[in-house]
């Protein structure tokens, strides 16, 4: 693929066709301190699936801003802390809250709220009322990050 084409795909700036989830947030995630201790689905996630989500710039979008130990992805961001070691720094519950809605911890954070649909402005029509990741995807990502020990 040519460099421009690759970048277009990388940034997902061309066609915002990525997976979006119609959510039911009937059960609001229970925040305890700086964490959401319980799984959003009641089930543990799968680390291998989580890795694929993190690596995919059109789905997880994580590598737009973060770098991480995903060697096959050449283009990674440097707007945010490296994900390497995230599983040593944080418990699964802490990781879960940081992905669900980091603004609960830092009102000015630039990290997108992956499991919140309220308080957002001018969301594109095809993403309205949908969270960036589904509850199950978030559990997969949490399971993957928990494996990233220093």
């Amino acid at each position: 693929m040519s460099r421009p084409g690759l970048l277009a795909a990388a940034l997902a700036l061309a066609a915002p066709a990525a997976v979006a989830q119609q959510v039911d947030l009937q059960v609001a995630p229970q925040i305890v301190g700086d964490a959401i201790p319980a799984s959003l689905t009641g089930q543990p996630g799968a680390a291998a699936r989580g890795r694929a989500i993190v690596a995919n710039r059109g789905v997880g979008l994580c590598l737009l801003c973060h770098s991480g130990p995903i060697v096959e992805e050449r283009f990674q961001g440097d707007l945010a802390p490296n994900l390497a070691g995230a599983g040593s720094r944080w418990s699964e519950g802490q990781l879960r809250l940081r992905i669900v809605d980091g603004s609960r911890l830092n009102a000015d954070t630039i990290m997108p709220p992956y499991y919140r649909t309220s308080g957002l402005r001018r969301v594109a029509r095809n993403f309205q009322g949908k969270t960036i990741l589904s509850a199950a995807q978030i559990e997969d990502v949490v399971a993957y990050l928990a494996t990233l020990k220093d």
Binding site: G5, A12, L13, A14, F75, G77, D78, I110, F127, K130
Partner: protein, 262 residues
């Protein structure tokens, strides 16, 4: 007397070197602003600087043909009213502006389309049409190397202020603002791409990814899509307000149209 001359001489030298720092890489000048051109690789910079390699120049050429072509009920060409395109020097450097008799600003494309509909009495040219892009590129090219000089029209202030508000506001599913990327994180890498400062110095640009020329509006729509925000309608005033804000933020920087971007 001598001291005074010396002072003026110094001032001129200062201004000249300031201008130089703007046009090229900032060589230790006090102005740290960077055109997006400076964030590109050398190959693309060369392509932009070489008129025989810059694909935007084909549109400038086409614009030149359109400039001389009569059209509409008036049977007149742009040249019939404006004469040589040299009369357009510096014009692109001071848009958006409020046309005579109007009370809201238009961007350069909008001004050209006004001439087209009101003076030539021809059909309106749609956004991103080949003709409108070509005429815009032809006019903008006349201001290459001119410093951006927004007009001193106090009526523009409220529109510019609204542009700045839009710039600062978080929006879209990713909940990001223009300022977060282009003020706070410019120069850093978003995936593999250096985030530019977003100065509108090169527009319209030939973007290799588009394989054609495109307007600032199209660029802004790309950024809106990137953060999963609903793009403003093509004829929305928001683009003009953002353009006004960006031109003021880039005041004094050199126009480089037609720019080349990856």
């Amino acid at each position: 007397m001598i001291a005074r001359h010396f002072g003026i001489g110094l001032a001129i030298v200062f201004i000249a070197s300031y201008a130089l720092a703007q046009g090229m890489a900032d060589k230790g000048g006090t102005d740290k602003r960077r055109s997006g051109t400076q964030d590109m690789g050398g190959v693309l910079q060369k392509m932009q600087d070489d008129d025989t390699a810059n694909p935007g120049m084909l549109f400038v050429q086409l614009g030149g043909e359109l400039w001389g072509k009569a059209s509409g009920a008036s049977g007149k060409s742009c040249a019939d009213c404006h004469g040589s395109v040299a009369s357009m020097k510096g014009v692109a450097a001071r848009y958006p502006a409020i046309p005579k008799g109007a009370d809201a600003p238009v961007d350069l494309e909008g001004r050209i389309d006004l001439c087209r509909t009101a003076n030539q009495r021809a059909g309106s040219l749609t956004s991103e049409s080949r003709e409108l892009l070509a005429l815009t590129a032809y006019v903008a090219h006349q201001s290459r190397g001119f410093p951006i000089t927004p007009p001193d029209d106090p009526r523009l202030a409220p529109f510019r202020a609204r542009g700045e508000k839009l710039w600062q506001a978080r929006q879209g599913q990713l909940n990001l603002s223009c300022a977060i990327c282009h003020d706070d994180n410019a120069g850093k890498k978003l995936a593999g791409v250096t985030i530019p400062e977003a100065h509108p110095t090169g527009y319209p640009i030939y973007r290799l990814e588009w394989q054609t020329l495109g307007s600032l509006k199209r660029r802004l729509r790309n950024c809106l899509a990137g953060i999963r925000a609903e793009p403003y309608a093509y004829d929305a005033p928001e683009y003009v307000m953002l353009d006004l804000f960006l031109m003021d933020r880039a005041r004094g920087m050199m126009l480089e149209s037609p720019g080349v971007r990856p």
